[in-house]
Symmetry: C2
Subunit: 271 residues, 2 copies
């Protein structure tokens, strides 16, 4: 038995949004071990410069590497867009995957007319990373990127639906009306929480996709190809690190993970 197979998979996000990715991975690979870092003391990343985001991502990855992980998953669209190549270069000995390529794949599979809307943070849209990843898979595609800076604070405030969430969604998604995409990609791990409000602002037949499930699938395929899947039976376990208050992390985190985070599994860390 290879010892390496039993090492945990490391994931990080600027906050708790990436727990939607962790959740999908736990469903796909329930017997793996995980270490999740939420950099809640410095969130959000999405409004900051790419230089700052790269610096934060490198520090987050270093913390996870110190935990002896067998794979690194950047469970944050903003950090993937800004820092994936840097982290791949910094961690040559393990697979490093982000959420953008899997998200692009999900969108390209769902779209029939090749017109794809992408909504994300200002930084992710400005990076052009989704456009690039989509055009690599479907060079004829038309990509409409829209930054939606208020979606993250709306989701964190818990105003997930109702008139205000719908009005914000309508205002951001207005440009889609004339461009007729048939697929909308939620390019931020917070956005799936706002799905009902987003749904009211787009054509009823719109395919709405996100990257959580396809990232879990990509991680599985990558581990399988490298013979790195865990070969011990039984349920896996998750350890959590947060850069701000653990109690606050658990409160918001439960909403995104969909199950309860146990207090004894969460440690505070300064980056």
């Amino acid at each position: 038995m290879n010892q390496e197979n039993n090492l945990p998979i490391g994931l990080f996000d600027s906050g708790v949004g990436g727990l939607t990715v962790l959740s999908a991975m736990m469903r796909r690979m329930p017997n793996e071990q995980y270490v999740f870092l939420g950099d809640t003391a410095r969130l959000p990343y999405g409004s900051k410069s790419s230089k700052t985001i790269v610096r934060y991502a490198v520090q987050a990855a270093d913390l996870l590497l110190s935990q002896q992980i067998k794979m690194l998953v950047i469970a944050c669209n903003t950090a993937t867009a800004a820092a994936l190549p840097v982290l791949q270069k910094n961690c040559p000995h393990i697979p490093v995957i982000g959420v953008i390529r899997p998200g692009a794949r999900a969108a390209c599979s769902a779209s029939q007319n090749g017109r794809i809307g992408v909504i994300a943070t200002a930084s992710t849209i400005a990076s052009g990373a989704y456009r690039e990843a989509i055009l690599e898979l479907r060079p004829e595609a038309e990509v409409i990127g829209i930054p939606c800076p208020l979606f993250v604070p709306l989701a964190e405030e818990g105003w997930l639906d109702g008139p205000i969430a719908e009005a914000v969604a309508a205002r951001y998604l207005e440009p889609l009306k004339s461009l007729h995409p048939d697929t909308l990609l939620l390019g931020c791990t917070h956005y799936p929480l706002l799905i009902r409000a987003i749904r009211t602002a787009v054509a009823p037949e719109m395919h709405i996709v996100d990257s959580a499930a396809t990232t879990a699938e990509a991680a599985y395929a990558r581990l399988e190809a490298s013979s790195l899947l865990r070969n011990t039976a039984g349920r896996g376990h998750v350890r959590y690190f947060t850069t701000d208050d653990p109690a606050q992390f658990i409160r918001t985190g439960n909403l995104f993970l969909g199950t309860s985070i146990r207090k004894e599994d969460v440690s505070h860390v300064d980056l």
Copy 2:
């Protein structure tokens, strides 16, 4: 001539909101020198734990102290609420003032019926610092504190008025309807930008006050009492530090300062 008088006044904020305080100080003391630090790489502070806010505030103050300042102004409600006593203890050799006591004074002067609404970040409201400062000045006052987490991102998105800003204000300020305060204190340096939307959500005769002007007055009084006012004629100058991208700082900063920040006056710094 005392050399100390010519040292700059240091101010810091989590971002650019504190520039409203700097602006008021420059109007009140146009020939002083200033150093302003905006910790934009880690903003916002208002949703974070007080432990994290104290850590950030101490680092910000240390940077300003290294610039040889004669007074420290915490131009941020959240940081004042969490860290004023710590920073006063850390900087015993210079006056350290925050925006909460001056804001409380403004509200107590404006109110006739003694019922005062305070709107601020979640962290500022949770600290109880405004309640305490108001009750010290007017022990019979009734203080209604309401956290408004979406106001900062709304102001930063530039959605300062119109139906969405008004709907958000109406939802947050709904509890004021039954409590009939005659004064509303804007307990966050971002909120004055939303004044038009806030105005639509409260009784027309409501006094709306903020702490910028009274903080400038308090700083002036404190410098005068210590014979520390600058005794050189001519206009003062401001140097800026930001922890994220200087260009971004200038773009949003101009909105809050009301005048143009020159590129050559802004330096990047890591904290």
